[in-house]
Every structure is written in structure tokens, then in C-alpha cells.
Symmetry: C2
Subunit: 339 residues, 2 copies
């Protein structure tokens, strides 16, 4: 660990700088640290240490003769070394528990409201990614005629998700036939795993009926493509409150636009999950728009395997301990709730 290169006192000073800066949003000077850190040293000593911390890349001066501000690397050290301690304050823990105790919605609504709840608890924007339906089974397939030649394909999965798609038929089909086709598909696919559904050819089912074929291939396609929109974002307005990137209107626009392109966020966040990372700080995020933002995520597991992820998005100058506690608490309880 390169971080061990910081001796105890430098670490303590860095910690104090981070904590002070997170609270005040002002560059913090040597004197403030000398008083607040608890070490019985003078400001001059602190200054000397800070020069070193700056040379090593943990601190930065916005301009000569201003106080110090943590760099991304500084936050990184803080997070790795100090953040994991501590749980969520009782009040907030209570909020989370109450939320799940009284939650009775379908999957989509639940996740949506979870994102808003996490946003309130963490005081940042929040993201909730739906569980990947790895282990989800098909619980029901149904074809519902809407108009002549137009039917709605509805698939219910064992995790409570409902996938649907409008189908346009090439030929007329009366209600009985559509219903029969639905029954056939249901019989064929119910109980099967949602991902890796066998396509029509491999089941020897091809040619039986045009309606069945159409619906079947649509269904396979539906299962194959990434589940339509597995990301719920809540509390975007909190980004505006204390966010560097919102300083310029242009920055705000770019950030908001990015959040509207769910694909981008999803792939970013999935990458974090894959690499087992829970905190991504500032420039550690590939994306330019997130230069001043940090992301804190935690995976959750439901029914052993189907895994999603919750996270918050805030300024690099965020209370990482609080964010981690909030994200952890919500992910655990969400996982439990879904099992």
C-alpha cells in the first residue's frame, strides 16, 4: 500500500483537512488544523507537514496564500483509511427501516421510491439499478389483443418485474387464436430462465403458428437486450445545491444531459461494480462531466444471486462516511426486502 508512506501525523492532518473542508467548503489553513486536529502542535509544524502533503499530491492550494484543499488523491486516502468506520445515525437508520416496512409496490415503483428515499437520507442524488434478472424465471407469458393485428405481449418474471412489448401482426388473428398462441407460449416457456431463453428454432417449435413465432422471437429479443431501463435516479435537484459542476450553466447542462442518457450512467456504474469498487472520486470517473463528482455505490443481493446496486452521486467534497453508511444500509435492507 502506497498509502502507508504517510506517517501517523500526516495522516491525521490530512484527515482533519478533509473533515474541515467537507464541513465549511472553504480552503482550510494551518491554524484551523492546529486547533482542531487534537495534535498538540503549532501551526508552523502543520504548515511544514502540509507542504509535504502537497508535494506528494494529497493537498492542493487553490492559489498561493490560500488554505489547502484535498485533491482526489487526498479524498482517496481518507476514504480508504478512515471512511469504513461508523454506521448510519439512528434517525436516518429509522427512516430507511420505516420505508421498507411500509413498502408494498411492484418492483419498478419500489426501486423508484427507493432512489428518492436514498436521496433524502444521503442528501445527494441517488441511483438504484434494478437487479439483473440472472436468476429470474418466467412466471407467466400472456398475449392480449389490443386491436386487430396488434397484440400486447406481457411477461411476468419471478422477481416481480413485468416486461411488455407491442406486436404488430402481418395477418388478422381473432381473439381465440391469439389467446391460444398465448397459452402455447406460456406452456412452453413458463418456469424457464429469463436470460438465455432458447429461440424458436431450437425448440422445434417453428412454423406451428405465425402468431406464436412472432411473439416468441420478440420475446427472445426482449430477454436478450439489456433490460430496458434498469436505472432509477432520484433527487437530481440536490446536485444543484452544492455542486461545483453547477457553477456554470454549461456544466449543469452537461451533467443533467449525461444523467438523461441512462446507458452511459449504467455502463459506468456497472463497471464500478465489476471492479469491486465502492467509491469513485472525481477524476477517477472516466467522464469529464464527473470531474467534480464522486460516486458511492453498494451492491445488493436478492434471492441469492440476482444482484443490483444502489449508489449516490455528489460533489467530491462530500461526507463519504455518511454516504457510505447510507448506501450500505439501503442496499442491505433492499436486498432483504426483495428476498
Amino acid at each position: 500500500m502506497e498509502h502507508q508512506e504517510l506517517d501517523e501525523r500526516k495522516a491525521a492532518i490530512l484527515k482533519a483537512v478533509v473533515e474541515e473542508y467537507v464541513e465549511t467548503a472553504q480552503p482550510v489553513g494551518s491554524q484551523a488544523i492546529a486547533l482542531a486536529s487534537g495534535l498538540g502542535v503549532s501551526s508552523a509544524t502543520v504548515r511544514n507537514e502540509m507542504t509535504v502533503l502537497e508535494r506528494e499530491g494529497y493537498l492542493r492550494q487553490p492559489h498561493t496564500s490560500a488554505g489547502r484543499v484535498p485533491t482526489d488523491q487526498g479524498y482517496r486516502f481518507f476514504v480508504d483509511r478512515y471512511a469504513p468506520t461508523g454506521g448510519l445515525p439512528p434517525v436516518q437508520r429509522r427512516v430507511v427501516s420505516d420505508f421498507f416496512a411500509s413498502a408494498h409496490q411492484a418492483l419498478e415503483d419500489l426501486l423508484h421510491e427507493t432512489s428518492q428515499m436514498l436521496s433524502r437520507v444521503s442528501r445527494h442524488a441517488a441511483m438504484v439499478m434494478a437487479p439483473e434478472p440472472d436468476s429470474a424465471l418466467v412466471r407467466s407469458v400472456q398475449l392480449v389483443p389490443l386491436q386487430t393485428r396488434v397484440v400486447l405481449l406481457v411477461v411476468v418474471l419471478s422477481n416481480g418485474a413485468v416486461e411488455k412489448q407491442v406486436l404488430h401482426l402481418d395477418q388478422d388473428a381473432d381473439e381465440a387464436r391469439v389467446s391460444a398462441a398465448g397459452g402455447a407460449l406460456d406452456a412452453l416457456l413458463r418456469g424457464r430462465a429469463w436470460v438465455g431463453l432458447p429461440d424458436a428454432t431450437s425448440t422445434g417449435d417453428i412454423g406451428t403458428d405465425e402468431v406464436v413465432d412472432t411473439a416468441h422471437s420478440a420475446l427472445v429479443g426482449l430477454a436478450a437486450e439489456a433490460t430496458s431501463e434498469p436505472l432509477y435516479v432520484g433527487g437530481v435537484s440536490r446536485l444543484a445545491a452544492e455542486q461545483q459542476a453547477f457553477a456554470t450553466n454549461d456544466g449543469a447542462a452537461r451533467l443533467l444531459e449525461m444523467l438523461e442518457h441512462q446507458v452511459i450512467v449504467v455502463s459506468l456504474v456497472r463497471e464500478l461494480l465489476d471492479r469491486g469498487i465502492t467509491v469513485s472520486i472525481g477524476s477517477e470517473n472516466r467522464l469529464d462531466e464527473l470531474r467534480d463528482c464522486s460516486i458511492v455505490v453498494a451492491p445488493y443481493e436478492a434471492e441469492g444471486g440476482a444482484a443490483g446496486l444502489v449508489g449516490v452521486l455528489g460533489p467530491t467534497r462530500m461526507d463519504y462516511r455518511h454516504a457510505l453508511a447510507a448506501v450500505t444500509a439501503v442496499s442491505q435492507q433492499l436486498g432483504r426486502h426483495l428476498s
Copy 2:
């Protein structure tokens, strides 16, 4: 009409001020108008007229010795008198057509993407409200067991919407029983109007089966409450681009927060629709957050009756003609597409 109190020349000057200001975002002076308006008058004359227009409340001076800016009342006059002319430019009209020509999603997805498309075409944030299911019929009711004591109620409506809710049962129920209950409900309710569903007592159906009862009352409740989230908002990032309210971080936060509270927006927009208003300018919007915003809406009708609404949200300083054209075009084509 109080507006008729403006003689032809004052109207022309006001029009020129609005058009110039919309384009440049700078207070416009008498000279610019004298040149651009096409009236063959001197700047002094324009000045005289502008003093009157200001006294009457159509124009405003940000400060003495600056040019004039339209007031909300000024925009109002402009919209009432000049805006209705003109359709969408061919290029954009094409975009709209192409969009609907290749749209094949389920209702929710379609509306969501429509909001994004409208946002692109109008260059503002866009809203799409789902058609009220006034005339929607129940096409299918289904109960899908998820776990013991937990079943998912899925209702498909004739307009392609799918409503769903998780139900918790008080007693165990095997698959056969749940399935039977689903069938019973389906037989009972299929073909009925979604709104004003008769409750369990009035059908004499009560007591038949606990599962049926639970599901039935949940279903009635579902139909009774306003359909969960009938509002889709797209292109929020465009608000940041040229928006007064985004000047201060606080204003941005308040605006974004309002947009997250869908209920507020929905009721606001519905009120406009009820009053038959298509353009609501600045302070005409009850809400403080929208003091500098205008809303342009247009209703659409699908299958004669089921009516929703599309709209854009931008700065009061917006191109009303363009916005109206965009909103109108999209609403028409959306209505046609849904029929």
C-alpha cells in the same frame, strides 16, 4: 379585448421588440427597432411609442438608460395576436414524422421517447402526459404467484397500458387456487371500463374466495387513484442552457425539485388543459419557481376521447411560434398514432 387598445403601429413595435429580444437576449433599443421593424419611422418616434407601451405594461426597462424588454403581458399580446401563424419547419416536421413512423413500443416507452423527441424538436424541456384512461377497457386480468402468499396482479388495458401491483395474502394459496382466482376475476371484469369499476360488494361476488376478494379490492383501488405516474419529462438539461431561473444555484434546485414532484406539475398542467389554455407565461403560472418560465401545451385525442397532453417548458423569452408549432405537430401525430 383589451388588446385592441394597441393601435397598429404600437403592436408592430411590440412585435419587433419581442422578436428581437427572443433572438438576442439583450434589451432592445429604439434604434434597433426603427431599423428592423420595417415601419419607416425614426428612433425618436419609436421611443415615444415605447414610453406608452411601458406605461401600459407591455414593456419594461431593466434599468434607466437600457433598452426595453417585454413583460409577461407583452408576451401575452404577442402570442394572442401573432403566434398562431405558421407551421413547423420542414426539417423538424420530418423528424416528427419519422419518429412516429418507426415507433413500435408499449405505451409507456412510446410516451417517454416522445417527450425526448419533442424536447429535441422544440429545443426545450418537454412533457408528455399519458392519455387519461377514461374510455379504456380492461382487456385482461391476471394473477401471477411470485412466492407463497405473494402474488402479482397484472391488468392490461385497451390503450396498451399495463397496471400492476404486488399483493400480500393472509393465508397460503397454492398455484391452482391463485390461477383460478385470476380466471374468475378476468371473467368478471374483462371488457369493463377501467374507471368506475364496480367494487366487490356491488357485484354480489363477495365472500367467494379470499384471494379473489383481496385482488378485486386492490384492483378497484388501483383504478380509483390517479394512474400512478402519467407524466414523462424529457430534456431537462435544456433548461440549464438558457434559463433565468438557473442563474442562481438555488433557483435551479427549486426548479428541478418541482419537476421531480410530478404531482405538482400534473395538476398545474391539467389545470391549463381544463381552462383551455395553451400558453401560460411567466407569472401566469401560479408557481413561484416558474416565474421566468413559460409552458406551451396542446391536448391530443386518441380513439376519440381518451385525451392526454404534450407540452414544452422553457424561458418566458422563448420562440412561441416555434414552440406552438412543435407542440401542435407532435400532439396531432401522437393522437393519430395512438388511434
